[in-house]
């Protein structure tokens, strides 16, 4: 471990010049790394001292330190999910991971102040450019802490709080503490416990009653270091009748060793509020992406997860909505693309806890080469609820003979006044379609790309325009060389 006051100079590897697409959707664009010297380093491995180091570096209140230690004990006592999950989880060596790397805890308000080495990373990923174009606020996290954070003045004047969670815990403990760990308890699963012990960074958003944030707020997560674990903690609270759209993007360079990303994201939509949470996950193919995401929707509130998983070695992520108030709505839209060496284990959880709540899950996955896509879903409608409805659709597309897909839904309904419907299909691109397009002069690969884009088109259109254009381009890229 380095001492807390130590400071060293950064050494830079000059980047090659590349075009900037929208935030890190293109894998190749994220695959670069700069040699950064960190002022704060909790060392390799995990024990009580690691937790103390992180807590001291952040100058945290005592209750947070206690919370972390308790969570560490929970993490140590919980087994890895074994009987249902992939054995690949056993390849994670928790003692070979670096849990906290930062240059400092206070993010800069303007891009000029961001240290050069970090700024170059984000410039190369196109973040400042996007901020100017269409965002209401940006938070850019580099390894453990946010390097840059800014919110447009007009939005701030409305009373909207948007900052990283390290800062929020210090400045707004009264709002933070009220909901922190309430949607996802520490012991929810082994990885939520791990996150609770070593969390750092992530976003905190509070939207006061009656405010509609017209432009999206965006967070960008970047892993730069090797053998690193990123554990951001995001908490979004949207007060009565308010609306917000939040987008997150993630990239990391490709290392030969494995990297761990284990976030906890909690959303709270109070009466009549609307939250739209958009993720474009494009981690490098050595990243274990084990994320717990859940929202709490009160009366007539709406939570919509739009989740797109393209990168990572193994993703296990099942965004959920607890429909706690009457008339609440939950929606998960999921796109997963699994290429060689990738396992996208994604899905959704819909827990109905009040009358007349409705939920929708639409999942589309594409398995290419030896890729494996898995859908897991839970729909729970307990006793004595009335007028609850769920509709689930999962479609899987298999491109090559070695591709694999699995679907494991679990639906529990009690009582006679609720409706659920689940449908899943597994298909390949029909030969007739390919033949038809080839007749009109497209190559087989072009035809395949077009067919795959058609398969996800209705979901891709739900992304903001800037994203949907890039998503289409990326699918073309991923499909290259998959046929013929």
């Amino acid at each position: 471990m380095s001492s807390l006051s130590e400071s060293t100079e950064a050494t830079l590897v000059p980047p090659e010049d590349t075009a900037n697409p929208v935030t890190g959707i293109d894998q190749a664009v994220g695959d670069f790394t700069y040699d950064v010297k960190y002022n704060f380093d909790a060392g390799t491995g995990l024990n009580a001292a690691t937790v103390d180091y992180i807590s001291a570096a952040k100058k945290e209140a005592e209750w947070i330190r206690e919370f972390r230690h308790k969570a560490l004990k929970t993490f140590e006592s919980m087994p890895l999910p074994t009987h249902w999950a992939t054995k690949d989880l056993e390849n994670i060596d928790f003692q070979k991971i670096r849990y906290y790397l930062a240059q400092g805890q206070k993010p800069k308000r303007s891009w000029e102040d961001v240290p050069d080495d970090i700024k170059k990373t984000f410039e190369r990923l196109g973040i400042p450019e996007q901020e100017r174009k269409f965002l209401a606020g940006v938070e850019a996290q580099f390894d453990s802490e946010a390097a840059y954070s800014n919110i447009k003045e007009a939005v701030q004047k409305q009373g909207v709080i948007f900052m990283n969670s390290t800062q929020a815990l210090r400045e707004h403990p009264e709002i933070f503490r009220k909901w922190f760990g309430k949607v996802i308890p520490v012991s929810d699963n082994k990885f939520s416990a791990l996150n609770s012990a070593v969390f750092s960074g992530g976003s905190f958003i509070y939207v006061p009653p009656g405010i509609k944030v017209t432009h999206p707020l965006q967070a960008y997560f970047r892993i730069n270091a090797e053998n690193f674990g990123q554990f951001e903690r995001t908490l979004i609270i949207v007060d009565e009748g308010s609306e917000v759209t939040y987008m997150e993007g993630c990239t990391a360079p490709k290392f030969t060793t494995s990297t761990l990303h284990s976030a906890v994201v909690e959303l709270v939509a109070l009466k009549g509020a609307k939250i739209q949470y958009i993720t474009v996950q494009n981690w490098a193919p050595n990243v274990f992406n084990l994320v717990t995401k859940r929202g709490l929707a009160m009366e007539n509130a709406e939570i919509k997860w739009i989740d797109c998983n393209i990168g990572s070695r193994l993703t296990m992520k099942y965004p959920g909505v607890v429909l706690k108030g009457e008339g609440a709505r939950g929606e998960v839209i999921s796109i997963a693309l699994a290429n060689d060496g990738q396992h996208q284990d994604t899905g959704a959880k819909m827990v109905h806890a009040a009358n007349n709540t409705t939920s929708t899950v639409i999942s589309k996955s594409i398995s290419v080469g030896e890729g494996r896509a898995t859908y897991r879903g839970v729909v729970h409608i307990p006793k004595h609820l009335k007028g609850c409805k769920n509709n689930t659709e999962c479609d899987a597309l298999l491109i090559n003979t070695t591709s694999r897909t699995d679907t494991y839904p679990a639906i529990t309904v009690k009582g006679g006044d609720n409706y659920t419907q689940h449908e899943a299909s597994v298909t390949k691109v029909s030969e007739e379609q390919i033949f038809y397009m080839q007749q009109r002069g497209l190559t087989e690969a072009e035809a395949m790309s077009l067919a795959v884009n058609g398969f996800v088109n209705d979901l891709v259109r739900q992304f903001p325009m800037e994203y949907s254009v890039e998503l289409k381009r990326l699918i073309d890229l991923e499909m290259e060389g998959s046929v013929g």
């Binding site: 494991y408 639906i411 529990t412 009582g415 006679g416 409706y419 597994v426």
Partner: protein, 343 residues
């Protein structure tokens, strides 16, 4: 009286001459050891109840052995009845059906407690083997007493161009678990897996199914329908597995639950594991209640609620029943279903 063959009608002469065997398991072990050895519990069951199937293997008593040689068609159904009598009786019946190349047979089996006050424990297994081009129809109905515990394993193997249709009717028992595993081992093989269950009171039906597509050009079609009343509970956990290389698989899996009471509970876990790309695999599950408008329509015609419910359940079940070709058999099953509503 348990475990004893009470009576058996002899097979018509022409069938016996053609080599058809219809015998008790005990007697067949002595008379046809080679056939029994080749097919008796030849499949590993792996749907969770290994302990119960091991117990069954150790204690098998009672049951039937049916063998249809190459090219022989048995046109009338063969019927097997099992009764368990006395309180706390444990029975381990086994039914083994072997249909050789291009043979055809229909087997109907009924299991019940001799009296409604007896508590029965039953751990039964049946093996269905359809050789190349063979056609096997297997219908079973259980009406154990309402305090009984039942387990039934159903192991099906279908060879090239073979076809198996199995239908299970679940009426009795307090807790009944069924495990059905179809293995499609040759091109052109097809398995239709059907089930109907009515849960009243605190009955629980736990249904596990597996459709294993082990060869290319195979098909399977599963439809499990459950009607739930009172505090009835059903669990459907099914899986379609398509092995690498099992191209052109066409598999379907459907679980439909009709919840007729606010206290009923249905659990549905339909799964897919696909390792071949040129396949068509779909599954669907729905949970719903009786349509208010349909109920109103019947009520407006002076039909009482219980009768209307019964009618609507019949309508719900008809989709499964109509898949049976034999009208007489459909009638027998309808009567059995009706008997459940009369209690």
């Amino acid at each position: 009286m348990n475990d004893v063959r009470i009576t058996q009608e002899t097979l018509p002469d022409h069938l016996a001459k053609a080599g058809v065997i219809f015998d008790s398991i005990e007697s067949a072990v002595l008379r046809h050891p080679a056939l029994i050895q080749a097919h008796f519990m030849a499949q590993d069951s792996a749907l969770g109840s290994e302990k119960l199937t091991s117990l069954h293997r150790a204690l098998t008593t009672g049951g039937a052995f049916i063998y249809v040689p190459k090219g022989v068609e048995v046109n009338l159904p063969l019927v097997v009845y099992h009764w368990a009598s006395g309180g706390r009786a444990a029975v381990f019946p086994h039914t083994l059906v072997v249909a050789e190349d291009n043979a055809k047979v229909t087997v109907v089996e009924f299991r019940q407690s001799a009296s409604d006050t007896d508590t029965t424990f039953s751990a039964g297994v049946n093996d269905l083997y359809a050789g190349p081009g063979a056609q096997v129809t297997y219908i079973s109905g259980q009406r154990w007493s309402r305090s009984s515990l039942g387990f039934q394993g159903n192991e099906t193997v279908v060879q090239r161009d073979g076809r198996v249709l199995s239908l299970g009717l679940q009426l009795g028992g307090r807790q009944v678990r069924t495990e059905s595993h179809s293995r499609l081992q040759g091109p052109g093989s097809f398995s239709k897996m059907l089930s109907l269950a009515i849960a009243h009171g605190d009955q629980e039906f736990d249904q596990r199914t597996l459709q294993s597509h082990q060869s290319a050009h195979t098909g399977s079609d599963l439809l499990y329908k459950n009607a739930l009343f009172d505090q009835g509970r059903t669990i459907f956990s099914g899986l379609i597995v398509v092995d690498p290389g099992a191209q052109k698989t066409d598999a379907y899996q459907s679980n439909r639950n009709l919840l007729c009471s606010p206290d009923a509970e249905s659990n549905s876990l339909p799964g897919l594991e696909i390792e071949a790309n040129d396949v068509r695999c779909t599954h669907g599950t729905t949970n719903g209640k009786i349509d208010d408008e349909q109920m109103f329509y019947l009520a407006a015609r002076g039909i009482s609620r219980p009768v209307a419910e019964e009618l609507l359940v019949f309508g719900f079940f008809e989709e499964v029943l109509e898949k049976l070709e034999d009208e007489h058999l459909r009638g027998v099953l309808r009567e059995l279903i009706q008997s459940k509503f009369q209690k």
